[in-house]
């Protein structure tokens, strides 16, 4: 079956609006994170975009007294950009906030890492926001740090700040003690296996292309799941799904979840009833995973925000692997103008429509 589909379903079958086919990456680049000039240049860039009226809003991050947890911030004027920040603690994927600007009159700048940028592109490809409404300020990302890992490395001492080097980080505590730990030991999980840290599409880029970290761990785990009997696999997922508190944070951060009325919020009929039984827990997880498959950008933001540690990435990456093998399509969000094979049809499809 897979062969037939592969040859018959062209991924770029439908014509896309012309504005989607613009150049993907500018050639001139700003300084890289880690360069002493970087933050100043990023602030200048955002300030002048606002001052010159190219954008009316910028979604980025702002410094807070807790240096491990900068806030997502929305900048409306050039004067506000003084505490705009981008460092190795900007974990939050901000692309989804673009949906709050669907009816905003004006352009929006977004400061994005590789994974966030794929979300922006996916929202554009899914016709959620027009390309020309977004100014993509991309950063080639050296990997982000998980504040919880830093805090647990510091033990009982309170962390005051973290100075990141290329291979290790220095943790400075409130008491003034310093310790050095390998960068990999405190990187956010998704960054440990990130193959695409560079924004695939951008209007401004900071830094030179990063190599990313090639780890096959996730795919090894998936292969292990594939080898299990269906009863074993069922037990594996049951154990995880049972813990799901149905907070919907995974859905709310996901750039592939862009429905204005989500099926899980419908009350009549209540497709997903409130009762936390096995059937409902599975229904929720599997429905979401299938619905985002083919559009899931692999950003792993869902995995990061899940408070109870459900390995959502395994499910999403397994489905991505299948879509890729069946349809030979690029990773969602890496190319403008690409429709997901699962949301297209072609009258010449090898399978009949009856």
């Amino acid at each position: 079956m897979s062969e037939a589909i592969k040859t018959a379903a062209p991924v770029e079958g439908e014509p896309m609006p012309a504005e989607l086919k613009t150049a993907e990456i500018p050639t001139r680049r700003g300084p890289a994170p880690g360069d002493p000039e970087f933050l100043g240049a990023l602030r200048d860039c955002c300030r002048s975009l606002l001052a010159e009226g190219h954008v009316q809003r910028i979604i980025a991050y702002r410094e807070t007294p807790d240096s491990l947890r900068p806030e997502v911030a929305f900048f409306a004027s050039p004067e506000e950009t003084g505490d705009l920040v981008w460092d190795l603690f900007c974990n939050t994927n901000i692309c989804k906030y673009l949906l709050d600007y669907r009816t905003f009159e004006g352009r929006i700048g977004v400061v994005v890492k590789g994974c966030d940028a794929r979300g922006v592109v996916q929202l554009i490809n899914d016709m959620q926001i027009p390309r020309d409404k977004v100014e993509i300020i991309g950063i080639c990302c050296p990997g982000q740090i998980d504040p919880a890992k830093v805090e647990s490395a510091a033990g009982e001492a309170w962390v005051s700040r973290v100075v990141a080097g290329p291979d290790s980080v220095e943790i400075v505590t409130e008491e003034g003690t310093e310790m050095r730990v390998p960068l990999e030991s405190v990187l956010t999980d998704r960054c440990l296996s990130c193959r695409k840290p560079n924004p695939p599409v951008a209007d401004v880029v900071f830094g030179e292309d990063q190599k990313g970290r090639i780890s096959d761990e996730v795919f090894e785990q998936i292969a292990e799941l594939e080898r299990m009997s269906s009863a074993e696999r069922d037990a594996f997922w049951n154990r995880h799904f049972e813990r799901c508190i149905r907070c919907f944070a995974c859905r709310n951060v996901c750039p592939a979840c862009s429905c204005t009325k989500c099926v899980f919020d419908q009350q009549e009929p209540d497709w997903l009833a409130g009762e936390r039984n096995q059937a409902n827990q599975h229904f929720f997880q599997i429905t979401r995973a299938v619905h985002v498959s083919g559009r899931c950008t692999g950003c792993e933001e869902c995995d990061r925000v899940c408070p109870v540690g459900i390995p959502l990435r395994l499910m999403n990456k397994k489905l991505w692997k299948d879509v890729k093998d069946l349809f030979d399509s690029p990773l969602p969000g890496t190319k403008l103008g690409v429709r997901s094979p699962l949301v297209m049809w072609d009258p010449k499809d090898a399978d009949s429509f009856e």
Binding site: V72, S152, E156, I245, E275, P311
Partner: protein, 358 residues
Amino acid sequence: MAEKLVTSEGLFTMVEKLLGRAQVTAPREENGIAVFGPVNSAGQVELDGPLPVIPEKSVVFPQSETLLRMDLGGEVPKVEAVEPEGEQVILGVRPCGLQAFARLDRVFLEGAFVDPQYRRRRDHTLIIALTCPTVKRSCFCRAFGYGPSDGSGADLQLTRLPGGSFHLETLTERGGEFVAEMEKEGIAGLTDAGAEAGSAARAEKARVERLAERSAAAVSTEGVVEGLDGMYDDPYWAQLAERCISCGICTYLCPTCHCFDICEKARGPEAERYRCWDTCLFSNYTLMAGGANPRPTVRERLRNRLYHKLNFFNHRYGEFLCVGCGRCVEHCPTNIDIRKVMAKAAARSRAQGVSVNG
């Protein structure tokens, strides 16, 4: 009250014994995350880990529970109230969890209506507290007038001693009965605590209280209620809501959040009425049958949660509904921090004070 000393093997045997006669809930680790959940072997219990993400409340207020069972097949429908069954033990409850139980008690047990499900569960739950082995930066219990060694509200309290054993303190009659029962069973490793163990426990408690002292300096409840009294229409809520993704993390992980929805399901003639956790952060929470929604945007919903924790509950019950466990602080995907809201309200109250007094 009696003080005992129990080795970790002794505690293990006690948990094994308990498993036969009660549903045991304890901290356990799942995929690297600490959660409170049912355990079926003593080996699953993980008392040295961080504060569990899933709070203690699920023991007395489960995510979903059946209230009525109905048979609609006959001429006259049969309706039967479902009572929770059996005995429960919750092991490793932190002081903030104990405080949270006390808040939930006020909501579910005070006043004209006593919640029967909650009452039954509460009465049949033995609470074994744990002195916090560590204090996280997100912990701010001290702001609410108690600390990581405060066992009030528990039947028994465990304190891990530097050597690895536990100091076990009996705090209620029920706790005493439990210890007597265990002694009758002849648990190896359960002995009377001598003066040395007693003072080691006191030293450990003093140590964690000192750790918590750091947060007391950073967070205060002074002026919070008063400040919020005058801030309901402040633009601040819209700014905060801008980045809130309106998920259920802060409410579902909160040990004192207690909202629920009542639903029904039917299959053939058999039907059930159940309740399940609900959250004021979801738009459906206040959605009316006709389609109107009095809290149409995240601003109103987030404001509601924060006021309930820091203002409304105080006006009704004279205490905060936040107990400072820090779960919402640590797990909010967009770093919305209730401590900052407290600081903002306190600052507002100071400013008002200044203007009133000239």
